[in-house]
Structures are given as structure tokens and as C-alpha cells.
């Protein structure tokens, strides 16, 4: 079982690095090539969500991403924002997406969650065990070579 852990300050520029690392480890773990675009997008969405929450709450704590490849490829993205921040994780219906009264943040959050739910079959969003924060856990199958 190999585990890779990446921690980064909550800056948008680091989300790209997280995507690159997440896909590189996925490829090494044996995730099917045709799933890698979805892995890249999902990791990007989870990390974007974490970075955005830290910035909204003025938190300088590091965002953590853990990748493991025991029986499957599991990615956990952990933030430290107050747990109520996760309440807004709902998919928006089409007629509300371009509504004038919908804020940009609410739109991006709703669309981001739709992408996570759409691209990750095995997705869990739950409070972290210690202190404030949320863990987004995503699992993909691997093919052993």
C-alpha cells in the first residue's frame, strides 16, 4: 500500500499542482487511462472547494490531499473550514443556474458539486474526526498490472 500526501497553502495556483500529482499517482496506481480525465476534474473540484472555503473564512491552514492505492485508488481532500460551510453542497436545477439572484459563489459551488457527483461513483463528504473541517473522499477502481 503506497500513500502520498500533499499539503498546500490555500492559493488557487496550487490546485493545478494538486491535479497533476493526483493524476500521476492515479496512473501509477493502475487507474484506467480513460478515467484519468475524470480523476483530474474531480480532484480539481475537491481542491478548489477546499481552497475557496479557506479563503472565504480567512484560514491560512494547509489543505491536505491524501492518495492511497491499497485495493482501489482513494483520494481524500481535507479542509478546515467550519462544518456549516458544507451545507450548501446541493446540485442546482437547470432553471436556477442562470437565475439573476443566484450569486457567483453559489453557482460555482452547486456546479462543482454536480461535477463531483457526476464523475465520482464512490463519493463521500463527511466531517473530519478532529476539529472543524470536511473530508471529500473519492474512490476509483484500479487494474493491477
Amino acid at each position: 500500500m503506497a500513500t502520498v500526501r500533499l499539503s498546500f497553502s490555500p492559493a488557487p495556483v496550487h490546485v493545478r499542482t494538486a491535479r497533476l500529482v493526483g493524476v500521476a499517482v492515479a496512473r501509477r496506481a493502475g487507474v484506467a487511462e480513460e478515467l484519468l480525465d475524470e480523476v483530474r476534474l474531480a480532484i480539481g473540484e475537491a481542491c478548489t472547494r477546499a481552497v475557496t472555503l479557506h479563503r472565504q473564512y480567512g484560514l491560512t491552514d494547509l489543505v491536505t490531499m491524501e492518495m492511497s492505492d491499497s485495493d482501489s485508488y482513494t483520494v481524500r481532500v481535507i479542509d478546515h473550514a467550519p462544518i456549516e460551510a458544507s451545507v450548501g453542497l446541493t446540485k442546482l436545477p437547470p432553471d436556477e443556474l442562470a437565475a439573476e439572484n443566484l450569486t457567483d459563489d453559489a453557482l460555482t459551488t452547486g456546479v462543482g458539486f454536480a461535477l463531483l457527483a457526476g464523475f465520482v461513483d464512490d463519493l463521500q463528504v463527511r466531517p473530519v474526526d478532529d476539529g472543524p473541517g470536511t473530508e471529500v473522499r473519492m474512490v476509483w477502481p484500479v487494474t493491477r498490472r
Binding site: 488557487p12 480525465d37 476534474l41 481552497v51 443556474l97 439573476e100 460555482t108 456546479v111 454536480a114 461535477l115
Partner: protein, 118 residues
């Protein structure tokens, strides 16, 4: 790949060609450019996504913002996209029901009534 933004005029439409990655880091530049175009008087705007190789929720949010801005200004807004991975993103988010999406710039800039709508 870095974000690239190039503007040209096709059949009285302002076509913004976007290339590279549109994400939480680069999307603010795309938002600024779209606001500049509308502020400068562009009313029929087409965003060409053919050279985009990554698009996330932040980028989608910027595109919705441009659609709303042009709707308020009584303009039109359309997207050019024929790449299946990107089209899947629009379907999953239901934004394919919000944006007029065309396979080519020519299709998006036609003036026969099938072009972009507000």
C-alpha cells in the same frame, strides 16, 4: 498549459478564442476579458472553447456570468464546443440547457436565426 485569450470578429460577432486550462487560478482573467468586451460595446459574443483542455466549475461560473451580463445588455452569447469531454461537463451540470452550444464558429455566428440567443 497556460490560459490564452484571443479576440477576433466574425460576421459581426465578437469571438473570444480560449485555450489552455480554465480553472480557479485562471478563470478571473477570463472574467475580466469578458467584462472588458461587454464594457467596450460587444453585444453578440461567442466563446470558442475548442482549444480548452481543462474547464472546471469556476470557469463555468464565469461563462454563466457573461451570459447573464449580455442578457441584461440585450445581447447574445453562445459557445463553440465539439469536444466530448467538455460536452459531458455541460451535460452533467445541466448547463447544456442554459447555453446555446455550437459545433463550429460558423454555426455560432450565422445570422439566420439559428445563431446564439440571449
Amino acid at each position: 498549459m497556460e490560459l490564452s485569450l484571443t479576440t477576433r470578429t466574425v460576421a459581426e460577432h465578437t469571438v473570444l478564442e480560449v485555450g489552455g486550462e480554465v480553472d480557479v487560478y485562471t478563470a478571473p482573467r477570463l472574467r475580466e476579458r469578458l467584462i472588458e468586451l461587454v464594457d467596450a460595446g460587444a453585444r453578440d459574443v461567442v466563446v470558442d472553447l475548442e482549444r480548452v483542455d481543462f474547464l472546471d466549475s469556476t470557469g463555468l461560473g464565469v461563462l454563466v456570468g457573461a451570459l447573464k451580463r449580455l442578457r441584461t445588455a440585450h445581447g447574445t452569447f453562445g459557445l463553440v464546443c465539439a469536444k466530448e469531454p467538455l460536452l459531458k461537463i455541460f451535460r452533467i451540470t445541466a448547463l447544456d440547457q442554459v447555453f446555446p452550444i455550437f459545433p463550429t464558429v460558423d454555426a455560432a455566428t450565422e445570422r439566420d436565426g439559428s445563431g446564439p440567443t440571449s
